[in-house]
């Protein structure tokens, strides 16, 4: 096993995971960058490093070593997948059934406590009604 290949492989893994963690940590605070250039840069860098480590490893030995291949493989998969996800940002809109000035459409759902909640419960209250993607 070549130490340089192993180091590059581990670094590529850390770069990809670090980029994802620092990007995802902006979500709870609502500070997601409009153009996540840093994320794109570090994901690309991570993928390139991972490929480099595998190529480097082959220079010295034809049998890939798990310590080189595993982090590199993981970095390539995660990196390319999230780069692909970033190319798909547009939400398909145009189906909106409400407009400003309309009355709330009546509905009946359950709260997180399992209690019944009717749209009528909002009458007489000023409300900020948010539709969101779920707890994550």
């Amino acid at each position: 096993m070549d130490l340089t290949a192993m180091s590059i492989s581990v670094v590529s893994f850390v770069v990809v995971m670090g980029a994802l963690v620092s990007y995802l940590s902006t979500i709870p605070s609502g500070k997601v960058p409009v153009r996540p250039m840093g994320l794109v840069f570090f994901l690309s860098l991570g993928v390139l490093l991972a490929i480099t480590s595998i190529v480097w490893n082959y220079q010295f030995s034809l049998s890939p070593h798990v310590v080189v291949v595993f982090p590199a493989f993981f970095a390539i998969c995660m990196g390319t997948f999230f780069l692909w996800v970033l190319t798909q940002p547009k939400t398909p809109l145009g189906d909106l059934k409400i407009k400003i000035g309309d009355h709330l459409l009546p509905f009946e759902v359950k709260t997180s406590e399992g209690k019944q909640f009717l749209s009528n419960d909002l009458m007489g209250k000023r409300t900020l009604f948010k539709f969101f993607r779920g707890g994550w």
């Binding site: 997180s112 909002l122 900020l128 009604f129 707890g135 994550w136």
Partner: protein
């Protein structure tokens, strides 16, 4: 933000496709004060025309790592398009804010500005 909303006597409710249990976990984990509504079958989301088909998302549970909910089981599924509505006392929709990029949400400043404009 909550203090500003209280000033205008705004009730905050938030609806998603999470089940009652998932919503309860989310509320406890992130210590949310607002009412979370569970629209597991996307009835309300579809009724309002806010369904995002096959959106990419993670399922998260109780646990956090580095302050981020630990993401498990990534999958593509239908969920709501992030949308904010301001509704007055009579149940009339006064403001709609939708994002065309699902990564981004209505910013606090934009919501507050709209609240101030609606309830002068």
């Amino acid at each position: 933000m909550q203090a500003d909303l209280d000033k205008y006597k705004l009730t905050v409710i938030a609806l998603s496709k999470d089940t009652v249990d998932e919503a309860a976990i989310h509320k406890e984990r992130d210590q949310l004060k607002m009412t979370l509504l569970s629209d597991e079958k996307l009835k309300v989301i579809k009724q309002y025309g806010l369904e995002h088909h096959k959106a990419f998302g993670f399922n998260t549970g109780r646990f956090k790592m580095f302050g981020i909910p630990l993401a498990l089981r990534p999958s593509f599924k239908a969920m709501a398009i992030p949308t904010s509505l301001i509704i007055d006392e009579k149940g009339v929709i006064k403001w709609i804010d939708q994002t065309d990029d699902y990564r981004l949400r209505s910013s606090e400043e934009r919501i507050l500005e709209a609240v101030k404009a609606v309830f002068k």
